[in-house]
Each structure stands twice: as C-alpha cells, then as structure tokens.
C-alpha cells in the first residue's frame, strides 16, 4: 500500500518518488514543507529531485564543497556541491576539481549553469544540494527550460492537457494569474480547465477525473478503488473526496466512501 510510505514516521527518504522536476528559483524558494522534515512540495506535489538553470553570481570553493550562487531572474539561491574525494579523479565530468583536462565543462562566473539536485534547508536558509552542476552554452536550452517549468507547473495546477485544451493552455487559455484556475476554462473539457469545477487541489481534480471517466455502476466508485487506481494514499483520497463533497460536485451513494459524480 503506497499510503504507508508518506506517513510522517516513514521519514523523508522516499525512494519511490524518483522524479526530476524542472523549476524556477522562485519555485524553489516558495516550496513548502507540510510539516518539519517533510519532503518539499511545489504546487501541492511532492518534489524529489529538481533541475533549474541560472546565472552564476558567485562561486566559493571550500575543501569539502563548492557553493554556487545562482540567479535566474526570478530569485537567487545557493547550490552546494559536495566534493567526493573518491570520484575526484574519475570520469565524472561535472566534478569541479577536474579542470585540468576539460575546461569546456568548467562553470564560469556570470555564465549560465544547470543544476540537478535536491531541495535542502539549513537553519532558515534554503539551498540546493547539487548532484551535478554544468555550464549552459545554448540559450535555447535556457528558454526551453523556462517553458518546461511553466508546462509542469500548469500540469500540477490544472491537470494534464489533452489535445484540445493543450493548445488553449499554451496560448490564449491562461489569462491572468493561475489562482483563478477554476474560472478560465471555456473548452469542452471536464478536467484540465474544469468546466464548472471550482478551484481545488490537484488530487481532487484527479479523483473527479477518474470518477468522470471510469466505467462504473450507478453506485459510483469506492474510495479504496480510487486510491488503488490513482496509486494515491487513502488519506489523500479521503481529503480529496471531502473537498469534492463540500464543493457539491460528487455525492456519496451506498456508504460514505462510495462516490459518484453529481450531474444535473
């Protein structure tokens, strides 16, 4: 049962979430922890590894680590890369010590660099524990990254785009701030833009979408089944259900954990 993995006692090392998420530095700074020591969340989705591109404002080399200060126009954050003496003379091309052979792979001051790592904090200071820092030489990569971060943000806040609403989300569909995400959808799409679906958490939207699309009897679907289908922990599904019940878009049928779409 995947639910047990996310329980507070499970600690923060969740090896089942091996995703790499493209983000902006502002998102890294705004990332929340639901409780102390918990994994960071961006757009209510847990983040494991992140990647971002920024301009290197400062490089400070110590004997055990190299700290880069990066700025991508949305904020500033430090990335700390530990120097592993075991790999210092291996083929690890991103290793900062390895400047003798490969100047091309050297991160330069005021040049752009891409960082892969995990969000960390020390005291009140947020930083990124970097696995890899490498220079960015093609400006298209920078622009592509920013658009990718936008697309992933939209995926988590409004759900996956399908063929029709996808075009809308990239172009004219996204007016103003996305806090008004409930109100913008005009396409005949029940999910992403949410026709008549009020603003709610991404999990609630996924549950709603499943209820809408899954073949079912008029009794609807049980929460356990929804949790299994979406590979979500039971408490999250229950919370999503509460949200949808409060919003009045679903109703409970045979018992309080069996829900169907309320259509009128």
């Amino acid at each position: 049962m995947p639910g047990e993995m996310n329980s507070p006692s499970g600690g923060k090392t969740d090896y089942t979430n091996a995703t790499l998420r493209p983000i902006t530095i502002k998102q890294a700074l705004d990332a929340m922890q639901p409780y102390p020591e918990a994994p960071y969340q961006i757009d209510s989705a847990e983040v494991a590894s992140v990647t971002f591109i920024g301009q290197v404002r400062n490089i400070s080399s110590q004997s055990t680590n190299v700290t880069y200060k990066l700025d991508d126009g949305t904020g500033e954050i430090e990335a700390k890369q530990w120097i592993d003496s075991m790999t210092a003379d291996s083929m690890d091309t991103d290793d900062p010590n390895n400047s003798t052979s490969n100047n091309k792979n050297q991160v330069e001051l005021n040049g752009y660099a891409r960082v892969f790592g995990k969000l960390k904090s020390f005291g009140n200071k947020r930083f990124v524990g970097a696995h890899c820092v490498r220079p960015v030489k093609d400006i298209n990569e920078l622009h592509c990254h920013l658009l990718e971060a936008s697309a992933v943000h939209l995926f988590f806040t409004r759900g996956p785009s399908n063929a029709q609403s996808g075009a809308g989300a990239e172009g004219g569909g996204m007016k103003g701030g996305d806090s008004t995400m409930g109100g913008v959808g005009a396409a005949g799409d029940d999910y992403g833009a949410g026709k008549g679906l009020p603003a709610m958490s991404p999990v609630a939207k996924r549950v709603y979408h499943l209820l809408k699309t899954e073949p079912q009897s008029n009794e609807g679907l049980h929460a356990q089944l929804i949790a299994a289908k979406l590979s979500l922990p039971m408490p999250d599904v229950a919370r999503a259900g509460d949200e949808l019940l409060t919003a009045g878009v679903i109703f409970s049928t045979v018992d309080e954990h069996t829900w169907a779409i309320l259509e009128f």
Binding site: G73, T74, H143, C144, L146, S150, K175, G176
Partner: protein, 122 residues
C-alpha cells in the same frame, strides 16, 4: 527577498519605467535579449528580433561587440534625446544570433508574465 529581473520585449519598456503608475512594481530592473546593431561610444542599440530596437546606456566596462547576441540586465531609464532606454548593469554574450530562436524567447516572455506565481512577485 532577492532582486527579480523580469524578461521583457521592447514593447514592455514603458511598463517598467519609474514614472509608470500602472502596477505596484518596486524594481525597474529588467532583462532583455537582442543583437547589437550599433555602437556609439557610451550608447548602443540592440535589435530584438522583429520587436524593434532598444537604446542602451553603457557603463565604462561593458564590452559589447557588433553583431553578437547579448542578454542585458539593466534599469529602464530616460534617454537624453527623449524616449526610454536601458541603463546597462550587466551583459552576457550569447555569441551568434543565428544560434538562438528568438520566437522561443518571445514565448518565454509571454509565459513568464502570465504565470506570475512561478516567475515574479506581483
């Protein structure tokens, strides 16, 4: 909070001018991308794809080269001859303009200004 430098196109210059009262923008520092098309000592001109030109007020140690694609970080300022330009704070040479698809940059500017929650504070 750290300093933010929104990416813009020439048509957005007026919105980041210090006299602009439309919007509670605290900083007027912006980022812009263009090809260097004229150098006149302490000023220069960059061309931003099909979006027009911007006049730059250079600082003594800005080393811009003709025909190169540059990313400028600077403050929106009044020009002596009227109009608005950018006072350069920093520049980054991206080499040959042919290696950059300016259309992608236009989309980036568009996306960054629509998706405030992940790019810029209001």
């Amino acid at each position: 909070m750290s300093l933010q430098t929104p990416r813009i196109l020439p048509s957005h210059l007026h919105a980041f001018h210090s006299s602009s009262t439309s919007g509670p923008r605290s900083s007027h520092t912006v980022r812009i991308l263009g090809t260097v098309t004229a150098l006149r000592g302490d000023t220069a001109t960059i061309t931003c794809g099909n979006n027009g030109d911007v006049t730059l007020i250079l600082k003594p140690d800005s080393h811009l080269q003709m025909g190169k694609l540059v990313e400028i970080v600077g403050k929106v300022a009044d020009l002596e001859g009227g109009g608005v330009g950018i006072r350069v704070l920093g520049s980054m040479d991206w080499g040959n303009p042919a290696d950059c698809d300016y259309k992608i940059y236009e989309q980036v500017v568009n996306a960054t200004h629509r998706l405030k929650p992940i790019f810029y504070d209001e």
